[in-house]
């Protein structure tokens, strides 16, 4: 495997530093805990957007079912937390103490079999990765091995999102129905509700996000990333060159699913509940919107997209609820028609050259002309 000697090129390094400074220093220092918790909620979607950059931006596979994986990860986490919150002492007013409250309301008297293993945190963490990963593997294998792609894949993932939502809402006794799993309290005895816990969880999430950025960047830079791009552009030629196109697509789709699931699990921890309203078609498409607005080809762009669109959603729908949907719809049409690479594309096309020119002129004035090394070309 050829790995570019530089992990980030110059503009990516700048993006990395800005994002790290923003998330680790500036936001925690300048926002109160409530706002910081909102940022944590936005960042859970950044995980999904990161996965979509790999799978949609690079691989060309548009999945309209990322809510499914976000939901699966979130529900795995929520099931563990819910079991911990439903200890026998906490639920002694129920007719059968020791099971989650919504089961009691739905006349289910013993814990269902598939809930049992979620008493263990190790199992839960494994499940957060494996359940969505395997699910994506099954869907991906069934679809890509038969060369179903493009619009058909998008429609079928959408149908899967619809099926899962109906299932969760319909099976109230096992899933909490439309209300979802609420009233999540402790993680291994550690209360996740007070302010200091929210701050710790925020930092855990940011560290996880940067770990995922590292993985995504690694995939992008290796030969795998190049094959993904080649596949997006000329699928048949890659196939004729002897690569198994289906396997690469399945891998990208599974990675995106696992990233989304990590986001979902952090969502359950940070926000304190999980419900089917984050699983269905509308949230799934909104996740695609974040990626598209930020820039489907840029890892940092997609993360900014998730933060900015969500921030706009919160602030605009608070003050101008009427305008919000108009604004979102118009923004989306504008992105598709006008700037397909999103905000990061605008940045790269209009802002970056000016900054470069500014620096270049300063450098030449000071007699320092060493810019041949800095813009490291790909190492081939």
């Amino acid at each position: 495997m050829i790995i570019n000697s530089r992990f980030f090129n110059r503009s990516e390094l700048m993006g990395f530093i800005v994002l790290a400074a923003m998330l680790f220093v500036i936001l925690p220092l300048s926002l109160d805990v409530f706002r910081l918790n909102l940022v944590a909620k936005y960042l859970t979607y950044a995980f999904v957007a990161l996965g979509l950059v790999l799978c949609w931006g690079y691989g060309g596979i548009l999945s309209l079912g990322q809510g499914v994986f976000f939901g699966l990860g979130g529900y795995c986490m929520a099931m563990f937390l819910k079991l911990e919150a439903s200890s026998v002492e906490n639920t002694k007013i129920q007719s059968t103490p020791g099971i989650p409250d919504f089961m009691d309301w739905n006349q289910i008297t013993s814990l269902p079999l598939f809930w049992q293993p979620f008493h263990s945190l190790t199992f839960t963490i494994l499940a957060i990765i494996l359940v969505p990963g395997l699910f994506a593997l099954i869907i991906g294998t069934a679809m890509f091995k038969r060369r179903v792609g493009g619009t058909y894949f998008a429609i079928i993932t959408q149908a899967v999102a619809a099926i899962l939502t109906i299932l969760i809402v319909g099976q109230q006794g096992y899933t909490g129905g439309i209300n979802g799993m609420t009233d999540l309290r402790t993680l291994k005895g550690w209360d996740i509700r007070p302010d200091h816990a929210k701050i710790i969880l925020y930092f855990v999430e940011v560290v996880l996000l940067f770990a995922c950025i590292g993985i995504a960047q690694f995939i992008r830079l290796t030969k795998l990333g190049r094959i993904l791009v080649a596949m997006r552009e000329q699928e048949d030629r890659v196939r004729f060159s002897g690569y198994s196109v289906a396997n690469f697509k399945i891998f990208a789709f599974c990675m995106a699913a696992v990233f989304a699931a990590i986001g979902g699990a952090m969502f359950a921890l940070n926000v304190g509940f999980m419900s089917p309203s984050f699983v269905g078609i509308v949230p799934s498409i909104e996740m695609v919107i974040y990626t598209a607005v930020g820039g489907r080809m840029s890892i940092f762009g997609a993360i900014w997209g998730a933060i900015l669109v969500n921030f706009a959603k919160t602030s605009l729908s608070e003050s101008f609820p009427q305008l919000w949907l108009f604004g979102l719809g118009a923004l989306f049409i504008a992105v598709v028609l006008g700037f397909p690479n999103g905000l990061s594309g605008l940045w790269a096309d209009y802002v970056q050259p000016r900054i470069d020119r500014l620096f270049a002129s300063r450098k030449s004035k000071s007699g320092w002309n060493d810019n041949s090394v800095a813009d490291g070309a790909p190492a081939e």
Binding site: L62, L64, A142, M143, R146, R147, V148, G150, T151, Y152, A154, I155, I156, Q158, A159, V160, A162, I163, I166, L167, V169, G170, I281, V282, I285, V288, I289, A292, Q322, W324, L325, F326, L328, G329, A330, L331, F332, I333, V335, V336, L337, P340
Partner: protein, 308 residues
């Protein structure tokens, strides 16, 4: 599960569920016809299809309110005018959308999906601002109320029969336009080979615009028919869109016959299952079956054999 019913009861149950399935079938066919034209013939994924339908429903509602207020003597016939108006309004909006938005995206089918989703968000908000968030229902004329008693245990609502007849008529009209008329031949020529169609003198841009307009217009008529059997709100369109896409894809994108066959099998399966289990589980099972079959046969039930 059958033990509690006598044979006669079971027969009636199947007939009644079958009839409910037929109404659902009409709904699916009406929605899927427009989508099959747009998706099947043009390859454009129109996520705002449901919103075009809702526009038709609102036009119908406004027409009925107008007749009630100013022409009460003609109220029993308002529906026929409403349907024409719904077709015109949705079709005109569709042609406008094609001109502003879709024609730039013919080479990027996945992006049509995203752009029309943006459009559907804006239309929903527009309906909410203009008509309010509340659902509106149309008052039916006298002759459409009540039901036909076929036997003691089987009765059939008249509005359902009316919607079914309407579906049959519209399907025949669409089939005629697409397969018999000169314009339909042009549409199919453009679909099969755009460059060659242009070379023999067909104005492909105009054909595209009218095709999109026709698909949206049919959606409007579908919305108009829906007011006969239910009420309409700003977000009603979104409820149907995935089902409709599945119907079209399941049937095979470019095939009118396939669309009808798949609408029939999906609606009958769902309606029959609905009697024996909760509505949501019936829906889950039906959708799962459709997705499963699509994985085995991605080109749909009736695939058109086209060289690519």
């Amino acid at each position: 599960m059958f033990g509690d019913y006598s044979l006669g009861d079971l027969g009636s149950i199947f007939v009644m569920q079958g009839f409910a399935g037929l109404i659902l079938f009409s709904v699916y066919v009406l929605m899927a016809l427009g989508l099959a034209i747009i998706f099947g013939q043009m390859g454009v994924i129109n996520m705002a299809h449901g919103e075009f339908m809702i526009l038709g429903a609102y036009v119908t509602w406004m027409t009925s309110s107008f007749f009630q207020a100013y022409l009460p003597s003609l109220f029993s016939g308002y529906f026929f005018l409403a349907m024409i108006l719904a077709f015109a309004a949705s079709g005109a909006l569709g042609m406008l959308v094609e001109w502003v938005l879709i024609r730039h995206l013919y080479k990027r089918p996945l992006d049509t999906l995203l752009a029309t989703w943006g459009l559907s968000l804006m239309l929903q908000q527009a309906y909410r601002s203009v008509f309010g968030a509340r659902e509106v229902g149309v008052e039916l004329p006298q002759w459409m109320l009540g039901s036909l008693h076929v036997t003691d245990s089987i009765e059939v609502p008249i509005n359902g029969v009316f919607v079914m007849c309407l579906t049959v008529l519209i399907t025949i009209a669409v089939a005629y336009v697409l397969y018999m008329s000169r314009w339909g031949r042009q549409v199919r020529a453009v679909v099969q080979n755009r460059i060659m169609a242009g070379a023999v003198g067909i104005n492909t841009e105009r054909v595209d615009r009218y095709t999109f307009g026709l698909g949206c217009g049919i959606a409007g008529v579908a919305g108009s028919a829906f007011t006969m059997i239910g009420s309409t709100g700003p977000t009603s369109g979104q409820l149907y869109i995935v089902d409709t896409f599945l119907v079209v894809v399941f049937g095979g994108a470019a095939s009118l016959l396939g669309t009808i066959a798949s609408a029939f099998s999906i609606s009958q399966t769902q309606s029959t299952l609905e009697f024996f289990m909760s509505g949501s589980m019936a829906k889950v099972l039906t959708l799962l079956a459709v997705v499963g079959i699509l994985m085995l046969r991605p080109q749909g039930l009736f695939a058109l054999k086209v060289r690519k």
